[in-house]
């Protein structure tokens, strides 16, 4: 194995999140939410906030690291990093960037965070109010293609056509998230189960791929996780979740304008996933639990396929509620309830859940989970994913 990889060098030592709210319902300002989540991650790890010396985020988070450092009284800010790209494709990359800073010695204690108060700013699911559009949007918005559900539905339609994927796959993914949320008091959809009839009767958002329950929520809140060196993590109060591998990017001309990506019917992971497994030194069959970002259930399906958990023409048999639910499913998926039913914290909540699984602290614990994969923001570019493991996976 190459010495350049991240495997075993950095660990998640702390996690924290605010109360998760429906969009527009946070009583606190977005920046205050960010601070709360960061302080809780520090407390979870047993690290003083002034010891934090780096920040990494993604998707143009509005909470500026210099302002955070000033607010927290951090004496020496050593690392500030923003992952390019919109959507949630950058969440695993933000963790990877923070970990790279720790491994390289740029910083010792990096917080990865995301704060969103969509009630205080524009909602993701609404069109921009601009009367004119130019660039790529000029070829889409005048035809009514403006929201993420509309921009990415076209990719999913093609994938499902190519491989004969049934809508039952999407229903199983949605129901797994909702089922898991029923044992998670943090979840916005806690106490609000979803049955098959309700799913099937839900309205179309974008036919033929996205019914209402196929789409993520829009929420207010914040989440944070804290990265330190593996050596330091072993001396802290929580069981370390080690980073084994991480990868980001996308394949040939994925970002070509007007939907001209070469590999169009795809979640953008075709070249990223093999690099991830190579660095981590594990295979899909070794993974105990999967957290896969739900912008839309179609994206989950394509991303899980492109990470090698099943062949595309086996999806109809593989994606069943039984297979996808903890503790006994073949591939427990989104065990916190994920973006669909816990909270849409732009996917960072799923990273926290992977850490809980490695620690043995999940509300839907997979027995003896040692390896967890995190797949971020499918269908955008760049996308990213990472693998975390317990101490015993390092030997």
């Amino acid at each position: 194995m190459s010495g350049r990889g991240i495997r075993g060098k950095v660990a998640v030592a702390g996690i924290g999140e605010t109360t998760y709210y429906k969009h527009g319902q946070s009583p606190d300002a977005e920046f205050a939410l960010a601070l709360q989540a960061i302080l809780r991650a520090c407390e979870d790890a047993g690290i003083k906030p002034q010891e934090v010396d780096g920040f990494a985020s993604y998707s143009n988070d509005r909470s500026d690291p210099s302002r955070i450092a000033a607010a927290l009284g951090i004496p020496d800010l050593r690392f500030s990093n923003m992952q390019w790209g919109g959507g949630g494709g950058g969440v695993a990359a933000a963790v990877a960037n923070g970990a790279a800073a720790v491994a390289a010695g740029y910083a010792d204690c990096v917080v990865v965070f995301r704060a969103l108060a969509q009630g205080q700013f524009r909602r993701f699911g609404e069109a921009a109010p601009d009367p004119t559009v130019s660039g790529d949007a000029a070829y889409m918005a005048p035809y009514g293609v403006m929201s993420p559900a509309q921009k990415y539905g076209m990719r999913a339609t093609r994938f499902m056509h190519d491989y004969g994927v049934d809508r039952g796959v999407l229903r199983a993914i949605a129901m797994a998230s909702y089922q898991h949320a029923q044992s998670n008091p943090r979840a916005v959809m806690y106490g609000r189960p979803l049955d098959a009839e309700t799913y099937d009767a839900s309205r179309w958002i974008v036919e033929p791929v996205n019914r209402l329950f196929d789409c993520c929520q829009e929420n207010d809140g914040a989440a944070a996780l804290l990265l330190v060196s593996a050596e330091r993590a072993r001396d802290l109060r929580q069981t370390p979740a080690y980073l084994l591998g991480a990868a980001q990017g996308s394949d040939h001309r994925c970002g070509a304008p007007v939907m001209n990506a070469s590999n169009f019917g795809s979640s953008s992971f075709a070249t990223v996933a093999p690099r991830l497994y190579e660095m981590a030194g594990v295979s899909p069959g070794d993974i105990d639990v999967v957290q896969s970002y739900e912008n839309f259930t179609t994206g989950v399906m394509m991303a899980v396929v492109e990470h090698g958990f099943c062949a595309p023409d086996e999806a109809n048999e593989f994606f069943t509620l039984e297979n996808l639910t903890a503790p006994a499913g073949r591939m427990p998926l989104n065990t916190s309830g994920g973006n669909l039913a816990e909270c849409y914290m732009h996917g960072l909540g799923l990273q926290l859940e992977a850490v809980r699984q490695i620690r043995g602290q999940s509300c839907n614990q997979v027995p003896n989970a040692k390896l967890a994969i995190n797949i971020a923001g499918p269908m955008v570019t760049p996308v990213s994913s990472l693998i975390m493991g317990s101490e015993e996976t390092l030997s």
Binding site: S134, A138, G144, Q150, T157, R158, R253, A256, F264
Partner: protein
């Protein structure tokens, strides 16, 4: 040929990008012509517009008129309106069209016809022009209809 507007008034209006990259496309639609990029060096077709050829990196990019014949590559039908102009519209159909006569580049537009029509992937479609002459900056969209 030209058609009346498929979507309601008040949708975002396209304007050529300020750097001039795609002016030739938008000027072409006003004439009822479909103009796309082709590399003057290696002949590679390219869409959307870019400053250089993605195949050979030549900046000698030319604009070429193409016939509006394509095949439906993918489709979707938004039901949930995300723009005020669409609130009373109901579902509308969007197609991604592959252009076999131009290196299989893809173009996007609405599929004319009833909102509950079947949309067969692979079906032949042809481009029709939808002028918006009354806009502050007049423009023309390119729509698609199933070939007869």
């Amino acid at each position: 040929m030209t058609v009346d507007s498929y979507l309601p008034a008040g949708m975002p209006a396209p304007v050529p990008s300020g750097d001039g990259l795609d002016a030739a496309y938008w000027e072409g639609t006003r004439r009822g012509e479909l103009m796309v990029q082709r590399c003057g060096g290696c002949g590679t077709w390219q869409w959307g517009p870019e400053w250089l050829c993605h195949q050979c990196q030549s900046f000698h990019i030319q604009w070429q008129k193409i016939a509006g014949n394509g095949l439906i590559y993918s489709w979707e039908r938004p039901w949930h309106p995300v723009h005020p102009a669409l609130r009373e519209m109901g579902p509308y159909t969007v197609v991604l069209v592959e252009m076999p006569l131009a290196g299989n580049i893809r173009m996007l537009g609405n599929l004319l016809g009833p909102p509950d029509q079947e949309v067969p992937i692979g079906a032949a479609v042809e481009a029709v022009f939808e002028p918006h002459d009354d806009a502050d900056t007049p423009y023309t969209l390119v729509q698609w209809r199933l070939s007869s």
